[in-house]
């Protein structure tokens, strides 16, 4: 009985899945995507569905950071560029870029799960990243030096965090640099005294997001605007998309992907 149920269930899921990615049946070829690293888990899940429903399509996803995504799509090196920040007018006009926003994401101040600190005033966050507060005990933690992690300048996450959380305050030059949201997560998970910033979609048991001025970056506070350090996740094409590119973007914005993938990965759907 249990087995039959499982089989029927699997069949329904398979049918449902294939129906959703059905729009891709008439296309084939490779879709090259690069850029923002916060996008990667969602994009990979979407790519898996598309490739499953149509094995003649290959979706290649690379990181690099928002700056890389914008530059590569602008230069025509990839079909779709990802960015975790808005495209500037200069970039838009230079390359003729068309951005599509498919999720809203907060950028969380993150620490190691073993760290007792779970709330910081924003002023303290600014002071920590500037290197003015050097020990966790100054903000109610244990007596240990603070290890600061930041991202390279191609990072959209960094640009948004710097502007909206640090009010364009200095990030100490002695900070460690990592080059993706994934690397940031791994670094913080391994270092009990770490502090860094990461896409809210990357928070889990291994990295702890903390409240700023008592507000935790969850869906409720992001949508109400109480948590201000948020950004859109964009996929960008050069010129209006067509063919496979258009099908992919439409699919990203479809109710199925928005609710079953984007939301499940910890981001806020736009539709």
């Amino acid at each position: 009985m249990k087995k039959t149920f499982l089989a029927v269930f699997t069949a329904i899921v398979a049918l449902y899945g294939s129906e959703n990615a059905d729009i891709f049946t008439k296309y084939e070829g490779t879709l090259r995507i690069a850029g923002g690293t916060a996008h990667i888990p969602t994009m990979k899940a979407v790519a898996k569905e598309i490739e499953k429903s149509n094995p003649r399509i290959k979706v290649a996803i690379a990181g690099g950071g928002s700056g890389v995504g914008i530059k590569k799509v602008g230069e025509g090196l990839v079909d779709i560029g990802n960015a975790g920040r808005a495209v500037t007018d200069k970039e838009k006009s230079r390359y003729g870029l068309v951005p599509f926003k498919w999720a809203i994401d907060a950028i969380a101040v993150a620490v190691n799960p073993s760290n007792p600190v779970s709330n910081l005033e924003r002023e303290k966050v600014i002071d920590i990243f500037a290197g003015r507060i050097k020990n966790w005990k100054e903000v109610g933690g244990k007596d240990a030096p603070i290890d600061i992690y930041t991202r390279d300048s191609a990072s959209g996450t960094r640009k948004v965090f710097w502007k909206k959380m640090l009010s364009k305050g200095e990030i100490t030059p002695s900070a460690n640099f990592v080059n993706s949201n994934g690397a940031m997560k791994r670094a913080i998970a391994n270092d009990p005294n770490a502090i860094g910033f990461v896409s809210a979609g990357f928070l889990d048991d291994s990295v702890k997001g903390i409240s700023v001025d008592g507000i935790y970056p969850d869906k409720k506070h992001i949508l109400s605007g109480e948590y201000g350090c948020k950004r859109g996740l964009y996929s960008i094409t050069k010129g209006q998309p067509e063919g496979l590119k258009k099908a992919f973007i439409d699919y990203m914005l479809s109710p199925h992907v928005q609710h079953d993938i984007v939301a499940k990965k910890g981001f806020i759907p736009v539709r």
């Binding site: 700056g67 530059k71 992690y149 390279d152 300048s153 900070a175 391994n190």
Partner: protein, 274 residues
């Protein structure tokens, strides 16, 4: 045939000159715009400074330290192998160094993250990412090449020399001290410089283990970035930004370092006598 060979020689040589000119051309706006001093010591506004001095100091720290470690490892390993020479399994052992030297550096770097960083954190505190961590792993990256080079040069010492040492009442130790090392001093220098060149050009190990911080490092436990990681981290910058231009200056400096290494090898003469 002859003219074809001359042509390919000219093409290859002009590529080198071309790269140098290309780097210089793209560095000039920054060198002229904000001046050499600002380009080197930094002077970026607010968010990120673009000085290449921290990266230059970081490169020197990491390459010197890792070459020092690697020299110890390689010298003792190749001397040890020398005393085993002639044994059947020596060749078998050597094949391991060949395999080691062909493993991509990103694999070494990843193993460093998993196996070395937790210990560095426990020993010295902090993030564990430091010049020391990167140098330890980088020394393992360059050692196999240095060992193979040393072995190669040791094997050209005529067999009779060892026989003579033994017949004079010497042992393996006196053979190594009195014959092998003095007769192969040049090769040891050249091999070490080659190791240094490889260390200074590596990107992945420093990128993943050195912390990439922008401050000028003063101790081996500080984080640092190298010229190569500086380039890797900034290449995604806006084309017009000073940060992006600074990677060409970094490339120019890196190229001068490499060229001076090659010139110094040439000056030394690659071959020992005897």
């Amino acid at each position: 045939m002859r003219s074809f060979l001359t042509l390919s020689a000219i093409v290859t040589a002009s590529i080198v000159v071309g790269i140098a000119l290309f780097l210089l051309y793209f560095s000039l706006p920054l060198l002229e715009g904000s001046g050499l001093e600002k380009t080197i010591v930094g002077g970026g506004d607010g968010d990120l400074s673009y000085g290449v001095l921290p990266a230059l100091v970081g490169t020197l720290w990491i390459s010197l330290l890792s070459t020092l470690f690697a020299l110890f490892i390689s010298l003792f390993t190749s001397m040890g192998l020398e005393s085993l020479s002639g044994k059947r399994y020596t060749r078998f052992v050597e094949s391991f160094y060949e395999i080691l030297s062909s493993i991509p550096t990103v694999v070494y770097a990843f193993l460093g993250i998993v196996l070395l960083l937790p210990h560095m954190r426990a020993l010295f505190g902090g993030s564990g990412m430091s010049i020391l961590s990167a140098s330890i792993v980088l020394s393992l990256v360059i050692s196999p090449t240095m060992i193979l080079y040393f072995r190669e040069s040791f094997s050209t010492v005529p067999r009779e020399y060892r026989v003579v040492v033994y017949s004079l009442g010497g042992d393996e130790g006196s053979y190594i001290r009195r014959v092998l090392l003095p007769f192969r001093a040049k090769s040891l220098k050249v091999g070490t410089i080659m190791g240094f060149a490889r260390a200074s050009g590596d990107t992945m190990v420093s990128l993943m283990l050195a912390g990439n911080s922008l401050e000028i490092p003063i101790s081996p436990l500080d984080g640092a970035r190298t010229l190569t990681t500086h380039i890797a981290l900034l290449f995604a910058e806006d084309f017009d930004s000073a940060e992006f231009r600074s990677i060409f200056v970094a490339g120019l400096i890196l190229m001068s370092v490499t060229i001076s290494i090659i010139v110094s090898i040439r000056k030394m003469g690659a071959k020992d006598v005897g």
